[in-house]
């Protein structure tokens, strides 16, 4: 059991910053979930496994001598292609079937990819190199590891880049239009099907980034993203499952709060962090299903 630390502001600051770093990872994956939910109206349960798979792809490339950043970029391209392919091949045929069918399909994908990763790469845990130097900088008395700063920067940088893409480009506008009203966009000449596929592609890219950022600390193993996925779910639900801003805020909030609870509340400790996130998830779902930033959906009968 983790002993509660004697309270000092520096220690508190360290807990907050490392919480922000893991929160940025949750935010990326949560944003991936929201991207798909906005366009396809389904939660992709295989999102975490897709991320795990791409992280293994990155590991393989580095294992064969490629240096970190080229492998990183190549992995993102592969993830994008993979995401688009999954939408085209698996999701498109069931687009108009009930929600439960699509959920079951993504669970099938979850099982298959999880098995595939264990089968191709082996079940043993692998180390994954970090691109950031293993040292700390001291900022206002709080020592922050460069690893955490880098993780935070890469994740949030991607989110901002994606936001700019959606705001400033015609393609981004078309994708937002499809999320807002697919029928009207189709009448305006937007290729709705391809926009959905692009959404899956971008979601896979976000997942890949989350995977590669998480891997140095959680290590590579076939189930590495399962816990991250639950945190990302909690983050997306907390922020509102249809709100991109909510996903990012929710992710950071979950990262910090869980880290602080784990450090300072004796009962929670290391082991009960995940059940705490579950409790957050359940409470939000029951009390305010639309989350902090989500649209309140009124069901008409």
């Amino acid at each position: 059991m983790a002993l509660p630390l004697a309270f000092t502001w520096t220690e508190f600051g360290q807990q907050v910053t490392s919480g922000l770093a893991s929160g940025a990872i949750y935010a990326s994956l949560a944003l991936a979930l929201v991207l798909i939910y906005q366009t396809t109206n389904v939660v992709n349960f295989a999102q975490g496994e897709m991320a795990t798979f791409t992280t293994y792809v990155a590991w393989t490339m580095m294992h064969h001598g490629l240096s970190y950043w080229p492998a990183f970029v190549l992995t993102l391209l592969i993830a994008f292609g993979g995401g688009v392919t999954v939408e085209r091949v698996l999701i498109r045929p069931v687009e108009h079937r009930p929600e439960i069918v699509i959920v079951i399909l993504t669970i099938g994908l979850f099982i298959a990819i999880n098995g595939l990763v264990g089968w191709v790469f082996g079940p043993e845990v692998k180390a994954f190199d970090s691109p950031f130097p293993n040292r700390s900088v001291v900022l206002g008395g709080v020592s922050i590891s460069v690893q955490d700063i880098g993780t935070f920067g890469v994740c949030l940088g991607t989110v901002v880049a994606l936001w700019l893409f959606f705001r400033l480009t015609t393609l981004g506008l078309a994708m937002r239009a499809v999320a807002f009203n697919p029928d009207a966009s189709r009448l305006m000449g937007v290729r709705v099907g391809w926009m959905l596929a692009l959404g899956w592609g971008f979601a896979a890219v976000l997942g890949a980034i989350a995977g590669m950022m998480a891997a140095p600390t959680v290590f590579l193993d076939p189930d590495m993203m399962l816990v991250v996925l639950i945190y990302a779910f909690a983050a997306a639900v907390l922020g509102g499952i249809d709100s991109p801003v909510g996903a990012v805020v929710g992710g950071l909030l979950i990262g910090v709060v869980i880290n602080l609870l784990g450090a300072y509340v004796n009962f929670v400790g290391q082991e009960l962090r995940l059940p705490t996130a579950l409790a957050v998830l359940l409470i939000v779902l029951v009390i305010r299903p639309s989350g902090l930033f989500g649209r309140v959906v009124v069901r008409k009968v």
């Binding site: 349960f45 069931v94 079937r97 669970i107 099982i111 298959a112 098995g115 089968w119 779902l285 299903p289």
Partner: protein, 345 residues
């Protein structure tokens, strides 16, 4: 109008199945018998899952968590406080002083898990579809962590070893035979219960809620009552299955019922066919034997490793969803259509 031939035909099929199950141990090795015992255990779990997901339309990704609750309930009752302390751990005071006979713990495990399932069903009322799937998945992922944390009640990560099971009341049966009959008698009773529930008033209410909640409410069906009931019954079935499982392996730890089992259970129900009791038996066989056959000839010659099982599972699930939405039961229905048409002529 149903002719008398339909119930007679159904009765004959059931009697034939019961006879087959009863005489099977004479024709098979003890190793195979163990596998068929697991089929019976999975059959019980899948019956509950199909009531919840197939009939009442509520998805769950946490069925194995309820199996774990049943398994732990049975294990703790079998050990009692004295048995628990023999394992070298300090036991919680909520445990009874002395252990019970394994067979009596099975219904208790079902009841306890059923009550917990009802309690979980109440917040679940506010959730539907994806949110419910999320909440149940989160339960399944967290349960091992919770089990490890409360060592006084669960033995922590080291798990609980149970005494080797044997036939009670001085019956002359070897242990594998006894476990086989125990599992399948439970399966038989619970199958009849499920059948009676599904074909009667309760089953109609479930299907009405699944197919249109508003219409169901207007017809005087209370979704709250029936949805919670479905959760409770599904959990009770899972509890019995978990207890049987723990007794069968005479060991339980937080990873005995992993998240992947929850997912595979759901996959098996869909492969067998949602809202079909005959599909459940197909699902149970698939769940036990598909991973085994995925690593035996001829597939093993394609260098399939142990992990190939889940891949085959996932791909089969996706293909079924894409190509045969009714699952194996709909194929079965197509094959037996001439016979059924003749019977109901």
């Amino acid at each position: 109008m149903r002719r008398w031939t339909t119930p007679v035909l159904q009765g004959l099929v059931l009697a034939g199945a019961a006879l087959l199950i009863a005489v099977l141990p004479r024709f098979t090795s003890e190793f195979r018998l163990g596998q068929f015992t697991y089929v019976g255990i999975y059959f019980v779990a899948l019956l509950g899952l199909n009531i919840l997901t197939g009939y009442s339309g509520q998805i769950t990704l946490g069925h194995a968590a309820f199996m774990a609750i049943g398994g732990y309930t049975a294990a703790l009752l079998i050990l009692g406080r004295s048995g628990f302390e023999l394992l070298g751990q300090q036991a919680s005071h909520v445990l009874p002083e002395h252990g019970m006979r394994a067979i009596f713990t099975i219904p208790i495990a079902g009841l306890v898990t059923g009550v917990i399932g009802c309690l979980f069903g109440i917040p679940a009322l506010r959730l539907a579809g994806v949110s419910l799937a999320l909440a149940t998945l989160a339960v399944a992922v967290s349960l091992p962590a919770i089990a490890k944390r409360f060592e006084h009640l669960t033995g922590g990560g080291g798990g609980l070893s149970l005494p080797l099971p044997h036939a009670p009341f001085g019956w002359h049966l070897s242990t594998p035979h006894w476990l086989y009959y125990e599992a399948w008698v439970c399966a038989g009773i619970l199958f009849v219960v499920a059948w009676l529930l599904v074909r009667g008033r309760v089953g109609r209410a479930w299907r009405a809620i699944r197919d249109g909640e508003v219409a169901a409410v207007s017809s005087g069906v209370s979704p709250a009552v029936y949805k919670t009931l479905a959760f409770g019954i599904a959990a009770a079935y899972a509890g019995v299955a978990g207890a049987l499982f723990a007794i069968q392996v005479s060991y339980i730890n937080p990873d005995t019922f992993p998240v992947t089992l929850s997912l595979l259970l759901l996959a098996s129900v869909v492969i067998g066919g949602l809202a079909s009791l005959s599909g459940v038996i197909v699902g149970a066989f698939v769940l036990e034997f598909l991973p085994i056959y995925a690593q035996s000839p001829p597939l093993v010659h394609l260098h399939f490793a142990k992990q190939a099982g889940p891949v085959v599972f996932g791909v089969t699930l996706m293909l079924i969803v894409l190509l045969i939405p009714g699952g194996a039961a709909s194929l079965l229905g197509r094959v037996t259509r001439p016979v059924r048409a003749w019977a109901s002529r």
